[in-house]
């Protein structure tokens, strides 16, 4: 168990009656997540799960402690606000395309209320074999002792898939998302991994843009974090002024470059890689047990 999410926690799903909402809810339950309620203006039940009109009502009736929001991007701010007011501990939002000004306001609300917000746009988080909030792919999930945090969904799928093939699974995997402004940043996840007895080392999957990797490096040094950190930073070939898919992946002047992130993390004692294969080999080589290759 980690400080981020109790794998036994009752979960509610906002936007459960939509096409994506239904299928994500079904997949999460099949993975073992305790889905106890849905929230939607329509319908009273989805696949046997009771659906309530508001998040607050769902919490009152079911004791849900965390939420997964499958709502449109322009509804994310309102959903984070509702989740905070309903007293939830955690809300994970999956929508792509949340406006930055909404994200700033949602982060202010979350911080003031003490609710943990993962998003704006993320494939979610998982404790493999126990709980999945979102849609991290099963082909990349396996129980293990790596704490994974990633800005990119697909790049983390690839890296974790290869780590899993090398016998290296995850204690907890958190997709923080590729937004410029987000609910939970690398530097906020690292202390959770550091304190988690099931996590031996951290895998950081970063990319150009912003200063999250640099902030993580400062935090590692200031707090004296001891666990090994393996980092991969994508975007060496990106040009200034060109957004590389993710809204946050934008180099501006010398802010957000791969070089800046590599240097900062290396100074903090992290091993930084530019090739996936090199990261996988290094993690495998330093794993306590010889990994079972397959």
């Amino acid at each position: 168990m980690t400080a981020l999410i109790d794998p036994e926690a009752p979960i509610l799903v906002q936007g459960i009656t939509g096409r994506a909402g239904r299928s994500h809810a079904r997949n999460m339950r099949a993975y073992g997540s305790r889905i106890v309620a849905g929230v939607s203006p329509r319908e009273d039940e989805v696949d046997g799960t009771p659906v309530f009109r508001t998040t607050a009502e769902a919490v009152r009736n079911t004791g849900a402690r965390a939420a997964v929001a499958i709502v449109p991007p322009l509804s994310v701010l309102e959903t984070v606000k509702d989740s905070a007011e309903a007293g939830l501990e955690l809300v994970v939002t999956l929508a792509e395309g949340v406006p930055v000004h909404d994200a700033v306001r949602a982060r202010q609300i979350a911080q003031a209320a003490g609710i943990r917000w993962i998003g704006a746009s993320t494939p979610g988080l998982a404790i493999p074999g126990r709980i999945k909030l979102g849609f991290l792919p099963s082909v990349s999930l396996a129980p293990g002792d790596l704490g994974v945090m990633a800005k990119s969904g697909t790049l983390s799928y690839e890296v974790c898939h290869r780590l899993v093939r090398a016998g290296l699974g995850q204690s907890l995997w958190v997709g923080v998302g590729g937004d410029a402004v987000k609910g939970t940043r690398f530097a906020e996840v690292a202390p959770i991994f550091e304190a988690d007895p099931d996590t031996r080392a951290m895998v950081v999957i970063g990319e150009i843009g912003g200063d999250e990797e640099e902030e993580l490096a400062r935090m590692i040094l200031e707090r004296g974090l001891r666990k090994p950190v393996y980092a991969l930073i994508a975007g060496s070939a990106a040009r200034e002024g060109v957004t590389m898919g993710h809204a946050g992946a934008l180099i501006h002047g010398d802010v957000g470059t791969v070089a800046s992130k590599q240097t900062a993390l290396q100074k903090a004692g992290a091993q930084v890689f530019s090739r996936i294969a090199d990261l996988v080999s290094a993690v495998a080589a330093e794993a306590p047990r010889p990994p079972a290759f397959c």
Partner: protein, 378 residues
Amino acid sequence: MMLLEHDAKELLGDLGLPVPAGVLLTEGSAVGPFEHPVVVKAQAPVGGRGKAGGIRLARTEAERQAALKAILGMTIKGYRVGAVRLERPVDFVAEAYLSLTIDAASATVRVLMSPSGGIDVEDETARSALRSETARLDPADLMRAVERASANMPQGFRAPLREAGLRLVSAFLEYEATLLEVNPLFICPDGSWVIGDAKLIADDNAFQRSPLVRARIEAQPALYSQAALKIEQDYDFVRLDEFGDVGLVTTGAGLSMQLIDELAARGRRPYNFCDIRTGMFRGNPGRLIQVLRWIAAGPNIKVVLINFFAGLSDLGEIARLLLIALKETPELKAPIVARLIGNNLEEALAIIAADGFPIAVETDLEHAIQLVLQKATP
């Protein structure tokens, strides 16, 4: 996305902020009559245009022609200049600095103000005069931050920077900017102020709520090809290297970026970045056909790498659409390497094998990259 200076200034002008009169001139368009002198400014979404020779003062017709010839088509930080802004020079006594930026970590807005702007804003003296204030993303709080910062400006700067700051707060909120920087902010002999240069990073995700910004992008699809595509089609394709030798049909921004890095590190020249979003195909091969056509237009394409890690999407469906798209683009002659992994892989492999279309299919990314390298170096 960063707007070109011309559009940033026009957007600020739309809200009544003082900007020098100017017009945009795109490559190949006719040059109208102009009064001289005129400043010819390269339009590229990067800093350091002046240092790169992209900004020139022209006092005569001949100087203007020479400046246009030198600047249009030049490359600044890998960005080809396709337009210039022709602008009336401003008579000023001082250059100040003003910016508003989102600070992602604290979820606040930082207001920076300095009486010493221009290109020297990054040096030591300018930095010491810089006043930094923090505010919540809220009009009243932002205005208070501007008041605090301007109260600490020297005599002669206080009033214009206060007024400019308050006006920029409105623009920052109206356009949902993540950065709005005016450097230099000209202080004129009569104490008024004019925006000398403006950087506006607008939020791609807020276009629906910012019709003026959206209209600027839609008016110049050639200058904003990526943003225009995203507005119209909701996916990303960026041509990185006109003479690139590897075309990429990929999904996922991070993995696509990483693939470009991995290929570049092995001496290849990736032609494009692509996040095609397989999850949004909805049974339609249109996106695939469009992307394959763009790649086929590359003069130096030696191989195409397709990489789909399907977390949720159905690879069987994707394989069917891919075969349709490849047959629709016979102009694409380069060999195809497809790396497929994830949901319903077996069906995808069977569909491709049964069809017989020449695609080298791999499930391991390193193997696929090796194959790309072999095919790119005959």
